[in-house]
């Protein structure tokens, strides 16, 4: 029996990673210029483009502009991303002219640590002089977070990742509060949405501090708080994240049919 595609899937019919990808996709509006990396953000952008945002233009920092890839890429510079692209140029074009030039509407990034102003760490865990782990570094992350009009952060929700003080600030959220970005000379709008495996978080307009927005189906506010290392603002009413529709799931699974970024068994 064919399901109604617009209906929401039931618990157990989708995985947390699928829900996270759907949350990311919904943050993309039709016609927007979207700056993504590989992994969940790529899957989210491809889903958006095939569903509600066919005119979204996906940019990958290696140089692919308005990519229409039909195969899942494993690298940001993967030849797969050139399929029916507008152009294939380089980093000065994507990070410089498009992004720093102010033409990117929404950028997606990940992080190993986030603080309550949305500042991000992707470089060091532990002490700068003698770190426990040396992460990959900024890549284009700092550039994206500095200059895109909006930022969506997608990351795992753990106490040690949601911290009061970052081990190293790789990318600027709202720094130490209101107007700090402007004072620092940053032009981009800063983080607007954080999607985790537990919830979605946004930022308080006035204080620029992070606040809970929605909890994923089956997750309680208490669970979120237990897994959060910083002081999370909890609004009076916390809604539940809208589950994926069957249509979203169907397209999502066609985007990543091999389950490279969203393994099927997690369902």
């Amino acid at each position: 029996m064919k399901k109604n595609l617009k209906e929401h899937a039931k618990p157990g019919e989708y995985s947390t990673l699928e829900l996270m990808a759907v949350c990311g996709a919904r943050a993309i509006k039709n016609g927007e210029v979207v700056f993504v990396g590989t992994g969940l953000p790529m899957v989210a952008a491809m889903l958006a483009k095939r569903l509600h945002a066919p005119k979204a233009k996906i940019v990958y920092e290696a140089g692919f502009i308005d990519s229409n890839a039909i195969d899942i890429a494993l690298s940001i510079a993967d030849s797969r991303l050139e399929y029916r692209a507008s152009a294939a140029i380089g980093l000065i074009e994507t990070l410089g002219m498009l992004l720093q030039g102010g033409r990117v509407d929404v950028g997606f990034v990940g992080a190993a640590q986030i603080d309550e102003y949305g500042n991000l760490n992707t470089t060091y865990i532990g002490d700068f002089e003698n770190p426990r782990v040396r992460l990959p570094g900024s890549g284009g992350g700092n550039d994206i977070v500095s200059s895109a009009k909006r930022i969506v952060v997608i990351m795992k929700h753990e106490k040690r990742k949601t911290v009061k003080k970052l081990d190293y600030m790789t990318s600027p959220g709202y720094l130490d509060g209101p107007n700090a970005r402007e004072r620092a000379g940053l032009r981009g709008g800063g983080p607007s949405l954080v999607v985790t495996n537990l919830c979605q978080m946004k930022f308080d307009e006035e204080t620029k501090r992070i606040r809970l927005a929605t909890v994923h189906p089956g997750v309680t506010v208490e669970t979120v708080l237990e897994n959060t290392g910083f002081d999370l603002i909890i609004p009076e009413q916390v809604l539940e994240t809208e589950p994926p529709t069957y249509e979203e799931l169907e397209i999502l699974r066609s985007v990543d049919p091999m389950g490279i970024y969203i393994p099927r068994e997690q369902k």
Partner: protein, 303 residues
Amino acid sequence: MVEADVEDKRITLKEAANLIPDGAHLFWGGFGFQRPPMAFAHELVRQGKRELTIYTCGSEIDIDILAGAKVVSKFELAFFAIEGIGLAPNIQRRIRDGSVQIEDYTNLAMALRFLGGALGVPFMPLKSMLGTDLVAKSKFRTKKVKVIDCPFTGEKVALVPSVRPDFSIIHASRVDIEGNAQIDGIKGEDIEGARAGKKTIVLAEEIVDVEFTRANPDLTVIPNIYVTYVVECPWGAYPMMVYNYYDYDMEHIRMYYQQCKTEEGWRKYCEEYITGVESHMEFLKKIGFERLLKLRARKPFGY
């Protein structure tokens, strides 16, 4: 005319690597999985180079190998990992044992540093890095970045120092014997990097006739004036990819990652695939003709 008007800049891979003295500073081309100068990295390891400094945006197995073999002691870059798999295993160990140091920039900052080098100006302005530890902290550079007030608008601008390395190493799609090089697909930071080096070595999947390049000047992205030497080097980015030529070999890459998690595993890999083979051709033979053929790019996809 006093002599033939086509200059022949061809040398062998061994000759090319032999030009690099210990302690040299290199721009390192390719981006992520696309066109890294893998064969050149192998040859640097075979020749036992030491104390190199490498400038690049983001690189992966190629620079992990250079760190593993202790060819490189300093990196100035924005990103290193084996994308989609995990952290670069050798570099992690070399950071811990103190034999490798990394100065961190962003991808845009590095690309602009190469653009500044290419343009012959001592710095370039950018609007990234501001307000973060990328400005506040440095590992070994005394002058890593300088934040100034723009004399026209008053806004904060970060200045990053231009890079003019001793050599730029590029792996291109095609080149003629004079050094006119074409790159299919994304160029990463190679356009700027090729122009930043005091000397530039272009390795390429194939050497094409000058008639081919001269017939369409619009396709040449690195003109001969910038190029000191050219090296014909088919499958020179294997196990990574070259658009329109071949796909990556994920099986080999995963094997590399797994094996290099330990020093012993790395030594075994290095001995088996790098120091234990005489040349790039012997390396390709070891991988096997059949396996390589399966990776060939299909038209019109380019992968």
